[in-house]
Structures are given as structure tokens and as C-alpha cells.
Amino acid sequence: MAPEEICKLLTTEFTDAIVKTVVEGAHPYVQVSPDRWPDVARFLCDDSRLGMNLLRSISALDLLSDDRLACVYDLMRIVVDRPDVLITETHEFAIRVETDRNEPVIPSVADVWPAADWHEREAYDLMGIRFTDHPDLRRILCPDDWEGYPLRKDYEFPLEYHGIPATTEYELPNPRH
């Protein structure tokens, strides 16, 4: 299924949920409003035409200039009808969900794709997005008592952690060299 067809199908099924569609470019996606996202996710996974059963990745974005945070869900289809036959038919698609930067809340889709469990924990840990109805939302990579969300653009590197001093004195070299 081509990205245009997936966009069209989603727009007809969920007219009120689609905020934006981007078909051009290297990464076509549909932007979904957060409150309808679990319904759209269930449809993407269960619909026989789409069957996007593999959640590849959740990339959390900090859109500082718009004062928004976003999650990009990269999905893919694996055809499982005849497992021992090599089926190269597939389609990939992405969904984007944006939320307010000061009160970032997105519904969890861990019940649709169990793979989302750890990806959402990572987005919570590094970007500070809270996922409602997540089975076990706690930090995954940073220690539990870490302060702040490192992947935010305005994150300030701590100068001390449990008595261990740190420095931000060393500037990274200019990449234009």
C-alpha cells in the first residue's frame, strides 16, 4: 500500500482525528490528535488492509520554537500468513502525535503494541512526555533520581551528581573544520 493510499484511508476513517498529512518527502506521515491516537493505533494494527503489526520505533522530538513536544511512531507490516515463505510485500508508515511542551501528555499504545512499553519509557525518561495508561511508566536509561529530561533542547547539564563533580567547560569542536 502506497503512503497516499494509507493517508486517504486514515482520513476517511478518522476525519476528526487527522491534524495534518505529509505525503511528500522521505518520511511520509500523518499527524493525529492525542485524544484519538489509541483508536487510530488499534485501527492501524488490526485492519486487514493495513496490518501494521510491527512498531519499529518511537522518536520523541522537541519542537522548541513551536513550544511543542512530539512523538513519531514508525510502523511497518510483516505478513504472517505463510511464515515459511519469503514475502517481501510490506509497507511502512509513520504517525506523529504532538503535545503541549509544558504539559506533555500522550495516551499510551502499549496495549496495542507491547513493544511500545520500553520505547515510551525511553521517551518519558529522556524527553519527559507522560504516557497515560502505561503499565509501568518509570525512567529506563537514567537513574530514578535524575533531574530533568536530557533530550530537551533547553536541558542544562548538571554540574554535580551525588557528590560527583562534572563540567561543561569543554566546548565541542566546530563541525565545519
Binding site: H27, S57, S59, A60, V72, D74, L86, P114, L126, R176
Partner: protein, 401 residues
């Protein structure tokens, strides 16, 4: 004085109140056991908290992040060609494949054409690194199961591969050889012949590993029928690579979404089969630890096949596209996944018109494959936990990034 004259008298244990100890007074309450982060069978710094009842593990909860370096944040302050050395420090057993994944993501974002010679050499090194990585996996998995000897054989061959890597790029583990726009340098003189010589030597060795380890009765007893994952479960938890094919589905990104000219090569995608058929030992169930292990053995043969084809038809020409250093990233985004030895390695890269990406996200196969630990280690024997974790074959550098 003879032995018979000696009266042996055991010293009373002062700590035990003999009046209170009765036969059969064994407590059977649940206990929390901390496995790792420095446990040898966790392959790096993985901590698993086990809730045990005697020998049974009721629940296993992995705790990760001990190697976290926030590599994604570093990617937001460096130009792509400067970020290449950070990618091979994620999955340090498959540096070539990691370089390749990030390079392809940036090339797709910028619309760069990679010369045919560079693509073919990339395929050679990606497959060569796959063999090296699977050799570590095989060897250490044997080690986890108590077989020391296969480890030495696997590492003997891996050393030779690393020597060939060193001859081509000067590094033995973190190569940074595959770079944005092509490869760093062309092959040195005589490398192709040395490589072909090694492949002739290596191919029969796979039978040795099978005789030493794969079909070893004790090894099969430890791994067959343990930690079974169904196809649906594997896909739901985002398992890819050998763990997915070990669940019996023929699916490989090199076939499904070919990159770097994989569509030109003739190779099979091996999958797991149940025990009793052909050479597969009795007791093996599709989706168990032995299946995941054996898929890796079969993949090495296929990698040799691909390498032979690529080396036989190496095109002439450039090895790098021009003007890489001042590459401006367009205001766009891209997600590219490739088939790493451990599964699907993806990079999400977002540009904003400058030379530095505004977001780099790595989707590591080890990270996703490890997330199935808790459902898989429910109500198993304690000794099966290393068997299950070892069969997933994780590299903690890439789990934690």
C-alpha cells in the same frame, strides 16, 4: 599412631541452635535475587532482578542504563560525518553495520548517490562483520551453557577476520570505515585475495562448530524447548533479526527493503524448523533458544555466499561521493532500517537546513529484543535465565546507547 587411632570429632557449629533445628524445616518463601550488573552471563552490564521461589523464577525484571551515554544528544551537536565514530560504539560487535545504517539514513535524507564500488565493498564488510558478530554470539553462548572449547575455536576465526578489518581500515573493533557517501578508503592491494583465502578456510569450520556445540547433547538439553516465542508474540514485542527468524518466519530487511544493492545478490533467509526433521535434534521447538542460536549458524553460510558474489564482481570506480564535509541537511526527516546481526537497526534523522541534525534517534535491535525478557522469563528454572538472555544475544552498549 595409625589412622585408626585418631578420633575425629567435629567441632560444634556455634551459630546453630541445635535444639531448634528440626528435619524438614526449610523455608519456601519468595526471594529477590539480583543477577548482575557484573554477572558473566549477562554479556555486559545488565541487571536482572529475579523473584524466585526455590529454583523457580517467577518474574524477571531487567534494569538497563548502566552504559548510557546519551549518544542521541551527542548527535544533535555534531555533523553526520563526525557522528560516525559514535555509531560503532553503540553495537561494538557490529561496528560496520552501525556505520552503514547511519550513513544510509543521512544519504537518503540528502539524496546522495553512493558509487557502485562503495556499495559492493559495504556489503562485503557488513556481511563479514555479521560473521564476526555471530562468532562471538556462538562462542559466548556456549560459554554460558558451560562449554568452554567452542569459544576458543570461534575466537580463533574471529581474530583472522579482525586482522582483515585492520588491514583495510586500521581498526579492529570500532572501524568508522563505512562513512556518509561511501567508504573511507579503497581496499589495500591483495585484500580481496586474502579475503577469498579466508572464506575457503572458514566455510568448513562451520561444521566444526556444529559438531562441537550445536548438536552437542548437553547443549541441546539445555536450550531446546526453553524460552519459546511464538511468531505473533515476537512481532508484538518488536523482535527482529535471528530472534524473529528463530520463531519461524522468513523475514529479512535485506530482502524486504533492500539497501546498498542487496537485491543483486542471491542468498537464502534461514529460519527455524522443529526437531526431528533433517539434522534438527529431537526436542527442538520452533521459537526456542536452540532455534535462535541455530539461525545464526545458518546465517554465516549465507553471509559467505553474499561475500563471494560481491568480491567476484567488484565494480571499478570511486569509493566516495563528493563534498561530504559541508553537507547541508534539508529541512526534512527520514527513518531508515537495516538488517544488523541482531535485527533491525534504525536511524531517525531530522535536519533543519544546517549542517548539524536537529534530532538523531537510534532504534537498536538489542534494546527491542531485550524487552521480551519479562514475559519470557516467567515461571522458568533459574538455570534457564542465562540460556534465554544469551539466546537473545544483546550488546549492552547499544541497549543503553
Amino acid at each position: 599412631m595409625t589412622m585408626a587411632d585418631t578420633v575425629l570429632e567435629s567441632a560444634p557449629d556455634l551459630l546453630v541452635d541445635t535444639d531448634r533445628v528440626e528435619q524438614g524445616d526449610l523455608r519456601t518463601e519468595e526471594m529477590l535475587v539480583n543477577m548482575g550488573p557484573q554477572h558473566p552471563s549477562t554479556h555486559g552490564v545488565l541487571r536482572v532482578v529475579l523473584r524466585t521461589d526455590g529454583e523457580m523464577v517467577l518474574e524477571a525484571i531487567p534494569h538497563i542504563g548502566y552504559l548510557h551515554r546519551c549518544a542521541e544528544k551527542i548527535g544533535e551537536s555534531l555533523a553526520p560525518y563526525q557522528y560516525i565514530p559514535y555509531t560503532d560504539r553503540m553495537d561494538y560487535l557490529a561496528g560496520m553495520n552501525n556505520n552503514q545504517a547511519f550513513a544510509i539514513a543521512v544519504e537518503r535524507l540528502c539524496g546522495l548517490e553512493v558509487p557502485a564500488r562503495a556499495q559492493a565493498i559495504r556489503v562485503v564488510f557488513a556481511e563479514f562483520n555479521r560473521i564476526a558478530s555471530h562468532l562471538v554470539s556462538l562462542g559466548t553462548y556456549g560459554l554460558d551453557m558451560g562449554a568452554f572449547t567452542p569459544f576458543l575455536y570461534c575466537f580463533r576465526e574471529r581474530e583472522m577476520i579482525l586482522d582483515l578489518f585492520e588491514a583495510a581500515c586500521g581498526a579492529r573493533l570500532t572501524y568508522s570505515y563505512i562513512t556518509v557517501g561511501g567508504i573511507h578508503e579503497d581496499l589495500p592491494a591483495g585484500w580481496v585475495e586474502r579475503c577469498l583465502e579466508f572464506l575457503d578456510y572458514f566455510e568448513p569450520k562451520i561444521d566444526d562448530y556444529n559438531n562441537l556445540l550445536s548438536f552437542n547433547h548437553i547443549f541441546v538439553k539445555r536450550t531446546a524447548g526453553v524460552g519459546v516465542v511464538s511468531v505473533d508474540e515476537a512481532i508484538a514485542y518488536g523482535l527482529t533479526g535471528p530472534p524473529l527468524r528463530g520463531s519461524g518466519i522468513r523475514w529479512d530487511l535485506r530482502k524486504v527493503l533492500p539497501y546498498d544493492g542487496y537485491e543483486m545478490y542471491d542468498f537464502d533467509v534461514p529460519i527455524a524448523r522443529s526437531g526431528g526433521t533433517d539434522e534438527i535434534p529431537h526436542g527442538v521447538v520452533v521459537g526456542d533458544c536452540w532455534s535462535r542460536y541455530y539461525v545464526r549458524v545458518l546465517e554465516m553460510t549465507q553471509s559467505v555466499r553474499i561475500m563471494r558474489q560481491a568480491l567476484a564482481n567488484l565494480p571499478d570506480g570511486d569509493t566516495e561521493a563528493k563534498k561530504i564535509k559541508n553537507l547541508k541537511l534539508p529541512d526534512d526527516e527520514v527513518y531508515v532500517g537495516i538488517e544488523n546481526p541482531r535485527g533491525q537497526l534504525g536511524f531517525y534523522v531530522r535536519g533543519d537546513g544546517s549542517t548539524i541534525p536537529s534530532r538523531v534517534k537510534a532504534r537498536g535491535p538489542s534494546f527491542c529484543n531485550l524487552s521480551i525478557t519479562t514475559p519470557l522469563c516467567r515461571n522458568v528454572m533459574l538455570a534457564d535465565v542465562p540460556a534465554i538472555i544469551g539466546s537473545i544475544d544483546v550488546v549492552m552498549g547499544e541497549v543503553d546507547r
